[in-house]
């Protein structure tokens, strides 16, 4: 009995090995996903990120509901309670778990609502930056010559200006500018400013990768049978550089969260009264000297775990997608 069993069910590792060899049709994607799923660290980080996304969604729902409730549910700005300002953390009430700020608003709620700003900034900035970077990188790498020159010139120029200074300059330029019905002096301006300056990294990597892919046999073959450039780009090049985009997305997210915090700290970020981690940290400049540490501690801790999780996850994502590490 046992003998038969052994032959029918070979050890798991062997089976995976043989499966790998036996099914050459499995995609890079499926493979990467599988490896990622097996990585416990990556999964924990992913769970943390999901938790933050959940917080952000809750915050968004709350804001939408309270704004449209006609006053029955107070918006966060209306929860000022000046009798209980600067209350240290206490377990008396849920909203006081992390203390209250200068106006008696709950620091716990403020931190949760701050997640929304940070995550939307990260998401929106990358939704602009990554596709832009990939598109420009692929075009530059594929067509070369003049187009390449122009795009290379563009991103060299952009990257020669210190990022944060460019960001500040753009925020100033966006003052009182309205674009497609969006008021760019507020948070929409941050999305666009961040998006416009942070595509450079993605573009560079994609351009280099495309230059390599352009010379590969299957691309040459496709060109030989007369497929159009656009079709080759879309079918043969872009899918093979997509992983760079994904990795950059997760890394860029961290940068965007940072940038929002710095901009808010400089007073160029979100509108007055909108809770965000940057404004909370900025506020601590006044409060810390008087011993009100809880607002700073909450926002920094919240930011620390999000950034840490994003960083590790981005790192593991890169490992998973890197063909060179495939069999490690």
């Amino acid at each position: 009995m046992s003998q038969i069993n052994l032959t029918v069910n070979p050890p798991a590792g062997d089976s995976a090995q043989s499966l790998d060899l036996a099914s050459p049709g499995r995609s890079l994607w499926g493979d990467a996903m599988r490896r990622l799923r097996r990585d416990r660290g990556a999964m924990i980080c992913f769970a943390i990120i999901c938790f933050y996304v959940l917080l952000a969604l809750t915050a968004m729902t709350y804001e939408m509901v309270s704004e449209n409730s006609g006053g029955s549910i107070p918006t966060f700005q209306e929860t000022c309670d000046f009798a209980n300002y600067y209350k240290p953390p206490t377990t008396e009430k849920v909203k006081w778990w992390l203390g209250t700020d200068w106006s008696g608003k709950s620091v716990l709620f403020k931190t949760i609502l701050g997640a929304k700003v940070s995550l939307t900034v990260g998401l929106m900035a990358n939704l602009i930056a990554v596709p832009l970077g990939m598109l420009l990188g692929a075009i530059a790498g594929y067509f070369g010559r003049r187009i390449d020159d122009v795009i290379t010139w563009l991103y060299s120029t952009l990257s020669s200006i210190p990022g944060i200074i460019l960001l500040i300059a753009m925020k100033f330029a966006f003052k009182n500018v309205h674009f497609l019905g969006l008021d760019l002096s507020g948070i929409h301006g941050i999305y666009i400013a961040l998006g416009v300056i942070s595509w450079v990294g993605t573009c560079r990597l994609v351009r280099a990768e495309t230059m390599k892919i352009r010379e590969l046999d299957y691309v040459v073959a496709a060109r030989a049978v007369g497929r159009s450039d656009m079709a080759i780009l879309a079918r043969h090049v872009l899918p093979n550089v997509l992983h760079i985009g994904i990795i950059n997305f997760s890394l860029g997210f961290v940068g965007a969260v940072h940038a929002e915090v710095i901009l808010s700290y400089l007073g160029l970020g979100v509108d007055v009264g909108v809770p965000s981690w940057g404004t909370m940290i900025n506020g601590a400049r006044n409060d810390l000297m008087s011993g009100y540490w809880w607002e700073l501690a909450s926002s920094v801790t919240a930011m620390f775990f999000l950034v840490l999780a994003l960083n590790i996850f981005g790192d593991r994502l890169r490992d998973a997608f890197d063909p060179k590490l495939k069999n490690v």
């Binding site: 209306e78 200068w102 007073g267 007055v272 404004t279 006044n286 000297m289 008087s290």
Partner: protein, 637 residues
Amino acid sequence: MKLTYAIIAVIMLALSASPFFFLKKADFGIDENNPGQVIAVSSYDAKVRSMDPATCGDTMSASIQANTFEGLYGYHFLLRPVKVIPILADGMPEISKDTLTYTIKIKKGLKYRRSPCFGTDKDGQPQTREVVAGDFVLAFKRVADPHIVTPLALAFIESKIVGLKEYRDKAKSYNKGDFSRYDLPFEGVKALDSHTLQFSLSVPFPQLIYVLAMHNYAPFPKEIISYYLENRDESDGSRSPVPMKDRSTFIKDCRAMVGTGAYYIDKLSYDGGDIVMKRNPDFREEYYPSEGSAGDKEAGLLDDAGKRVPFVDVNIMLFVPEDNPAWNMFMAKRTDVSGIPQQMFKTVILPGSKLTDSMAKDGIKLMQYESPAIYWLGFNLRDKVLGNSKSLRQALSLAFDVETYLKVLFNDRGVRAMNVVPSAFEEYPDLPKSPYSRFDLQAARAKLLAARMELEQAGVIKPGDPFPTLTVDLGGRDEPQKRVGEFIKFEFKQIGLEAKIELNDWPILQEKVENYKTQIYTMGWHADYPDPENFLQLFFGPNVESQTNQTYYINPEFDKLFEKASKMLPCPERTLIYSKMVGMLNEDCPVLLLSQPVSFVLCHPWVSNSKPHPVGYGFFKYRRIDEQMKKRMTGDN
């Protein structure tokens, strides 16, 4: 080989330690051989921008200069409400019946500080000379000089003194470096004899006495011009004339600050650095005042009554631009007096304006005074929403909880303003208090209903429409300003009004306000002189043109009263007119009254005779330092 390494190591060590060999003890130019000297040490935080009384326009420069440059009049050190007393003048002015001519006698025997500009004796010691009326005439000509930027000093007397415009026009044609323009006649300020001055006014100007109490019009000896502005030191020690085109029109060197005050400035520079003021040995005989306000006697402020001033020999002011280091220096007993940084306030002052026990135990004294300033939210009455609805402005005033605002955002460093006039003014008790200067949401909501009617009538909003969002401009981008913004938003929201907060840099806000490009804005006014007129002129219709009327408040009746009062010398009748005008402002609410700031000053127990003055400067001469106690307490011997 080993030796090479050892040598390298030694050289590296020596190089890294080399900066320490050049460290020097701070040199204040104090005579070390004179241990009996009394030295006062304080800190200051803003660079001095002017060394010339004519160009002085900021409080920092004024607080330094006023100790060496003195005007005809000044403020009594102790009396509150503040009172003008003669300083260089011999008695109060003799005013003609039409109040247009002021004749002023100057004290005899007043001397300038010794300076080489008055020549030297045979031992090479600098000389001095007596102050004469002509020096005052020169001072006024310099203020009127078109080649000197005299922002503050000129504004007060422009269009008030006879012949000023003519003098300015004529002097304009002179070369910048050609000082012979000071020989041109100036009709409005004349020296009748060596010790009598006469001012001729083109319009009645009862506030002239307060203008003369500023140090900006201090006597200016013509020797300064010939010695320091027309000539200069050469590297070999000789003196040579400055080419006309290179001449400066104002003092840029502290040696040229030749005044009559109790101190002379020994060290001072534009780029920060420590300031040293030393006792002027030629200072006239002056005595500590023997009358004070209520409470001064108990506070020990009259202990030195009748004693000759100054008490302190050297005043050292250390340049410490940041709040926290300045505070730490005070706590380390290195400076004698200090303000309280905003963020430290809670750890220093207990509720009820008392010092914490640990500080009180150290004997630290707390002084507080209400600054003659009022902060408000200005309404731009040119705006169609705010301009068309008095009730809306009243509603906003009623909905604003100033007490909480002061408690939460300013640690109670202020009191609610009851009308546009500071409480330190003599007339204040007779002026009506605004009925809208209180927190009453119910009344505010009722007013808001009336406001809706008014706005619908004016066609600004359609029936049923919500109120338009109000834009509030703030003058700063930092966190405290943002909190003010958030607070305003919250207060307006309480009666259902939406507010949008705009953060501006201060100069941008000023520009916006002056061009009426705002709707609601934060603003305040600090008194130039203790006369309600100084605040009421902000609402005088014709001042729209000079941009001092920033609310665009135009009320012909108010203007008529203002014109009438501005020609009157202080009297009960004038106070009555003032109270009528204040009543109008209270009713019309061109501003949402916020607060009158309260300032706090701390000093160590070895400092006495320190009483902050709300308007005047130049009171260093009264300060006394108990050197023995200081040494004992600081453990410094």
